[in-house]
Every structure is written in C-alpha cells, then in structure tokens.
C-alpha cells in the first residue's frame, strides 16, 4: 500500500456504522432538499410510470404473433393523440417549473436561514487534500473536523487554497464549490447531534479520495467545551503554508493566530498551493 492513512482510517471506522443517506437528513437544508427531490420525483412518476407500462403493454399486445390485435397499417396521425402527447408533458413540466422556481430561491445556498441564537460564521478552505475550518469569532483553526452547535444557523464562507473542489455534508444539505480567489457562501443548520460524513465532491487530484472530514453536531455546551480544547502551536500564515503543500493531514484543533487568514487566502496575499513538484509523473500521495 502506497498511502499511509492510519488516522483517516480510524476516523472513518467510527463512522462506518451509520448511514449517510440523503433520505435521512439531519439538518434543515438537507430535509428541504430531500423533500423537493421526492416531490419532483412524484410529479414525474405520475406520467413516467404509465408510460413505462404502456411501452411494455403495446409492445406485447401488438406483437406480430397476436392474431387478436387489430392491424392498422395506416394509423399514422391523430390530432387528439398529438394534443395529448404535447400537453401532458407540458403540464407536468409546468408544475415542475413551479417547484424549481420556488426551490431555487428558497434554498439558494447564499440565502440566510433561521435558527437558535446568533449565526455562527465558519470559514472553509479546501486544500490539497484536506479541509481547513476557521472560526474567526472563536479564533480557532480546525483541520479535517467541522464542529457546529445544534440548531445554530451556520454561515459558511468558502474558498480554496488550491484547485477548485466542492464542500458537501450530505446529511446537512447542499454542496457548493470552493475556488481560489473567490468566496462562495453556504448556509446550513445541523438539527441533531452526531458525527456526520463530510467530503469533497469535485475531483481535486491524486489525494481526492481521502479528502473527507468529520462533521460533528454537538450541543451548545459541548461546543463551548470544544472551543476551549484547542491546543498546540497557534495557527498562522507559516503554518498555513506548510498545510497547503500536497498531502494528507490528521484532524487537529489549534488556536488561530492570524485573524485575517481567510481574507489573505481569498485575496491571494497568501498564494495558492504550489501543486506537485514538476516532473513527468509526480510521486504518489504520502502522508
């Protein structure tokens, strides 16, 4: 095995018991996304299921060997049928368009959501191949572990310290791209305490498959406790540069020493990650 992933593996083991189905939402956005998904599916199945049945039925009944079926070699046009085949799908789509319109606006990732208490701002930086979560108000920097108090609206600001990828916690809701030099915005809320699976959902290079993280929803007290548990050398620009090099990382929580770190990354005052060493076939991922 060429990849050492002991730490990542243990965190995954802890998770493997639980389901991460999007039909088992644990956040308000995920619940609404799933609801819309199911609604749209239902609207469409109303027309698709009869269609599927008709295909099989017509093909079967009008098989050449069936002498009871009437052969009508000249039946090639019928105004009524034409009307129906255009209007039924059109009506279905009209209905669907309503869902699309309302859904896109209500669930726009940038739209703020309600919840208990003051919104918590979390700054997310995707790196090769790990996630850095900055808590500007709590002055924390957490690697590969996203912790959030249950019920509090989360205001995520996201960027990338390297290539483009996407941030996604299936059971919390919508994913969003992260891009260097830009800030994308996502609003989420976790509604039930627990450990959830978070991942990168856009290919970002050789370490992509290991670019997942733990998303923990905890009670307000536990969250306060967690913010106190930061240890080790404060996280600053130099530490960031070290982290930005290609490779994997273990979860860690450190105090944040550079309050402007996020904006420095976005404005490229801190340049994007260096990528692989130039060579024909770069060496594979090492921890």
């Amino acid at each position: 095995m060429r990849i050492k992933r002991a730490a990542v593996l243990t965190s995954a083991l802890a998770l493997s018991g639980c389901e991460i189905s999007i039909f088992d939402p644990k956040g308000t956005i995920a619940a609404q996304d799933a609801q819309i998904l199911v609604d749209s599916l239902a609207i469409m199945l109303a027309i698709v299921i009869p269609t599927l049945i008709a295909i099989v039925a017509f093909a079967w009944w009008y098989r050449a060997g069936n002498t009871r079926a009437r052969y009508r070699p000249d039946f090639e046009y019928s105004g009524q049928i034409e009307l129906v085949v255009w209007s039924i799908p059109a009506l279905t789509v009209l209905l669907l368009a309503g869902v699309i319109w309302v859904g896109s606006h209500d669930l726009d990732p940038g739209a703020p959501i309600k919840g208990a208490g003051k919104p918590l701002t979390i700054q997310v930086v995707s790196l090769d191949w790990k996630w850095l979560f900055l808590y500007p108000d709590q002055k924390l920097a957490s690697v590969n572990e996203l912790v959030a108090p249950v019920g509090t609206p989360l205001r995520l600001e996201l960027t990338s310290g390297s290539v483009m990828t996407a941030f996604f916690v299936p059971q919390w809701g919508s994913m969003i791209y992260t891009m260097n030099g830009m800030t994308s915005r996502l609003n989420l809320r976790a509604d039930k305490a627990g450990d959830y699976y978070g991942e990168a959902s856009q290919i970002s290079g050789d370490g992509f498959a290991d670019m997942h993280f733990k998303a923990r929803a905890v009670s307000a007290d536990d969250f306060a406790k967690w913010t106190q548990s930061a240890a080790g050398v404060p996280f600053d620009a130099a530490a960031y540069k070290e982290l930005a090099k290609q490779g994997l990382a273990n979860p860690a929580l450190r105090p944040l020493a550079a309050p402007d770190l996020f904006s420095d990354i976005v404005t490229q005052k801190l340049p994007p990650g260096p990528g692989p060493k130039p060579s024909l076939r770069p060496p594979s991922v090492v921890n």
């Binding site: 599916l41 199945l45 052969y71 290919i203």
Partner: protein
Amino acid sequence: MLGKLTWDAIPFDQPIPLAAGAVVALAVLAVLIYITVKGWVPYLWREWITSVDHKRIGVMYVALAILMLMRGFIDAVMMRTQQAVAFRSNGYLPPEHFNQIFSAHGTIMIFFGAMPFMIGLMNFVVPLQLGVRDVAFPTLNSVSFWLTASGALLVNLSLVVGEFSRTGWLPFPPLSEMTYSPGVGVDYYCWALQISGVGTVLTGVNFVTTILKIRAPGMTYMRMPIFCWTALAANLLIVAAFPVLTATLAMLLLDRYLGFHFFTNTGGGNMMMFMNLIWAWGHPEVYILILPAFGVFSCVVPTFSGKPVFGYRSMVMATMAICLIAFMVWLHHFFTMGAGGDVNAIFGTMSAIIAVPTGVKIFNWLFTMYGGRVRFTVPMIWSVAFMITFTVGGLTGVLLAVPPADFMLHNSMFLVAHFHNVIVGGTVFGALAGMTYWFPKAFGFRLHEGWGRWSAYFTIAGFYVVFMPLYVVGLEGMTRRLQHYDVGAWRPWMMVSVFGVLLALVGIVLEIVTIYVSIRDRESLRDEVGDPWDGRTLEWSTASPPPEYNFAVLPHVDHEEYYWRIKQAAARSETLPEEPHYVDIEMPRNSATGFVAAFFATVMGFALIWHIWWMVGVAFVGAYATFVAFAWRDHEEHVIPAETVARNDHARRAARAKALKAYSPR
C-alpha cells in the same frame, strides 16, 4: 532534439499499463504484418484508406467506434473492479492511475466511441435515404474520418508514451493548469481533441450542406425520413457547438504553453469561465450523441411495426425544438457554483422543458407500435429496451435539473448513473440497433438473429445490474471518481455492480460471436433483394451492398413514404416499375488527402505534446503541402459508363422481380 520526450516517458515502473500497452502494440504490429504478408495493402489502400465513398467511410467510422468502445469498456471493467476491492484499502490501482482511467474512459467513450458510431451511421445512411450519390464534399469527408482516427491514436498512444490526463473527461482548471498538472496528460487530451474536433466540425459542415442542398428530386423537407432530420439537427449542433470546444481548449492550451491567464488561479484568470464555456459546448454535445440515435429508432420502430412513423410532423418539430433548447440549458451542470436563485431557476426550468419534446418522441414511437404488427428482431429488441431505459434516465436527468435536488446529487454516483442511463440506454443501444439494422445493407448479409438476441439480453441486463446500484450509492452520498472509500454502506452495492459488468462483458463477447457466426454463415444469411426487413425508406430500394453510385438513376420522390408505395404498387401489379434510361455517372475519384493530412496532424500533435518544435514545423509544412497538392488536382471525377450501370441494375431488378412473387402487399 526530442523536447520533453525521454525514456522516463515509458512507464517501466508501472506493470499494468506497460503490459497492456505492449500487448496492444504487439497486436497492432501483428495485424499490420499479417496484412502486409497477405498482400492486402494495395487493396486496403485502394478500396478503403483512400476511398471517398460515404459508405466505406461510414463503415470505417463504425469500426473505429467499436474498437474504441472496447477500449473504453476495458477501462470500465478496471474501474468497477477497483471500486469493488478498494474498500478500506488502496485496491490495485493507485490514484494517479485510476484518475487516468476514468478520464480516458469518458474521453474515449464520448469522442471516439459514441460520436464516431453515430457519425458513421449518418455517413452510411443519409445519402442513401436522401436518394443521392454521395455527400456534399466527399474528400472532406475522408479528411474528417482520418482526423478523428488521428485523435483516437494520440489518446491511445498516451497509454505507453507518457500519461493521459487525470482531470476527468473535461479538464477543469485550475487542476488542469500547468501548476497542478505538470505532466503531458492534459496536453495529450487537448491536442487529441483539437485534431479530432476539426474533423468533427468538417463533418458537421458537410452534412448540413448535404441535407439542405443535396437531395433527390422531389425530396422536399417534409418528405425526408426522420433519421435525416435528426442528422440535420445533430450536425447543426456540431457546427454551432464544437467551435466553442475548440476555442475553450485553445485558451487552456495558451495558459499551459505560453503562460496566459484565462483560467489560472493567479494573474486575473477566471476558472468559472472554463466551466461556463465547456458546458456551453458540453450540453449540446449530449444531444449530438442522442439525436441520431433517436433517428435510428424512428427507422427501426416503423419498419418492424409495419406502419409509418406516427406523427411525422410532431417528430420533426420535437427534433428541431431539442436542437434549439439544447443551447439554453448548459448551466445545469454547475448549479452548485452559486449563481443565485434566478439564474439557477431559469436554467433549471429550461432543462425541464426539454422533457416535453423528448416525451413527444417517446409517445410517438409508442403510437407507432400501436396498431402495428411488431416483429421482435434484434434491432426492435434494442428499441424497446431503449424506450424503457431512456425514459428512466430522462427522469433522473430532469430530477437533476431541479436545483435543490442537484445540490444533493451533483457529482454523485447518482449523476454517473443518470448519464450512463441515457448514453448507454440511448446512444449505445441506438448504435447497436442501427448497426444490426443496416448491416445487411452494408455487407449483403444479415447478422445472426439467435446469437444477436442473446447478446442484447446480456448487455441490457448488464447495464441494469451495473448502474441501478450506482443510483442507490449516489443517494447514500457517494461521490464520483473515488479511487477508494471507507464507507461500509456502499460496499455491497459495489459488489453487485461489478457483477453487472461481467454480464455486459458476456454480452459483448456474444456480439463478437454474432459477427463471427454471421460471417461464417453468410451464404444462408444473404440478402439477395436489398430489402431484408421490408423497409420503408430509400436505402432499401437499391442493392445490398449498394453500388458505388448508390442509385442507377436518382429516384423522383413524390411522397413521404415513396419507396414503400412503389413497393406496394409493384407487389400488387406483380411488375416492377419500367426500366429507366441509364446514363454515365460521374463519381469523385479516390484521394489520399485525408490519410496524408491526418498523418501530418498526428505527427504535429505528438510533437506539440512533447515540445519537439522542429517536428511541429516539418509537420505543418507537410500539411500545407498536402492541401495545396489537393487544390492543384485537375481531375476530381471519374466516369462510370452507362453500360456498367445498366448491367448492375439488371441484376438488382432480376432479384427484385423474383422476390415480388413471394411478397404479400399490405
């Protein structure tokens, strides 16, 4: 002297690609030697390589496509087996290799498998259905084919010399920029597609012109078979969309080669622009893949239902509607970039609207079967399987067009399942239906029904067993392109899926057996008359295989179902139409332009990839010289004397006359 090319480029340290490459290289070499020893080279050169006959070119396109589908299928088998074993382990394919595989799989399947297959069918069928002798620009047609082959060659070369792109079938920057992909993989990708892209645009120009300007007398637009309409739509899409791809890849190449800043992280580049432009091409591209398949089904279903296609005008309208709306939906591939509610909603709605004309098509095929006498031949089996499978795939597509749903499913295995559902269930089934349907026209004998049927059953079953589990894991949050994973819930589905790929493999092997058996038993499968299925369109009025000039005299079309009508009239009166007056026929001469131009293009592409600048220069001069030499030619045509035409046509008429007695009119 050789730019970046050194011995390091050969992957001596990676046994799998090295062995695979060596085997392929040896196989190619063996075939070449065999051909040479057998003395077939002059024949191949005269009859195929330099041929500008649309039928020959069509056959070569399909052959290339089948080869590439197999290459892509091998990649698919590797991916499925990797994901079956790579649970909490690294599997047998390291990431740098796995990433090349899905990139190569997607690229090869789309650009060198599915698209050439469709273009091949159009090449073979369109002039025959229009009742004419050839396409508008026969030599250009040959250039198109050979440029496509050149691109395919370059992609496959990357297996042994250097590496292929690791950034997916569409190279999203900044990952594909020099900083993050310093190897030659992305360059292979870009140059291969630039070269074959030129060929594709030329095909588009050629076919739009052919369909709009070269039709048999009396073949008005509303008398064209639906396949010609879908071919027109697909080629309009090619002409309008492929230049966007060319421009976008050119920008990426400028970034990579000359340090421009179109899509870079730094220097004022904007990577979102790449996403925007590539999908402005990419979405129309998927309709380029599916529309000709729709055309195939619009030939197959009426023929085997013994009825004209239902709702001809609706079909035409739906085709052209899809062609136009195709250009108004591209943002649905990046709903998750954050364009905001209005933009997402409008593009989501436009995407859903495509379901209407597509639905109309499904329903019209349905009503074509209604009141028919459906014969379940192999093409018809593919067609019914298509109708069911494609409806399911379209449904999941529309689901993805609902932005909040897409926020959960984008880039997931659900998406992977969606597009295989429409591509395999639509384009690939259509390709195989079309191949089986027109095979007797091309070669003069049918494919064996029994074996072909089993091949279809296994392939269809294989498809469902591979991809239905992927929907499930997609809903369980599994993202695409994972080299390994640690989530236990996904594991069982991966095991089911790998079983499906085995079924598909059996299907493909049976397809090869079908072809083998059919060639062996060709005498008993012979199509003497030229109309083995009781067809309705003009291609069935000529001999199988058709003479070089297709029709002894151009038909004078006076009805949508012209051939069907004269056939019925002849059967009723038990006499063939009067013998026409034969005249000399002028046909374009063979030309090596395509082959030579593609040779230089390949050399130039290779030299550009490896920065061998002198070789670039040499190849460019060579290409220009070919061009001028072609332009300087004096005689572009040769003449087939009326006597020859008459002799051939008498044979055809005799076979028809004999068959007339056995045919019962409807």
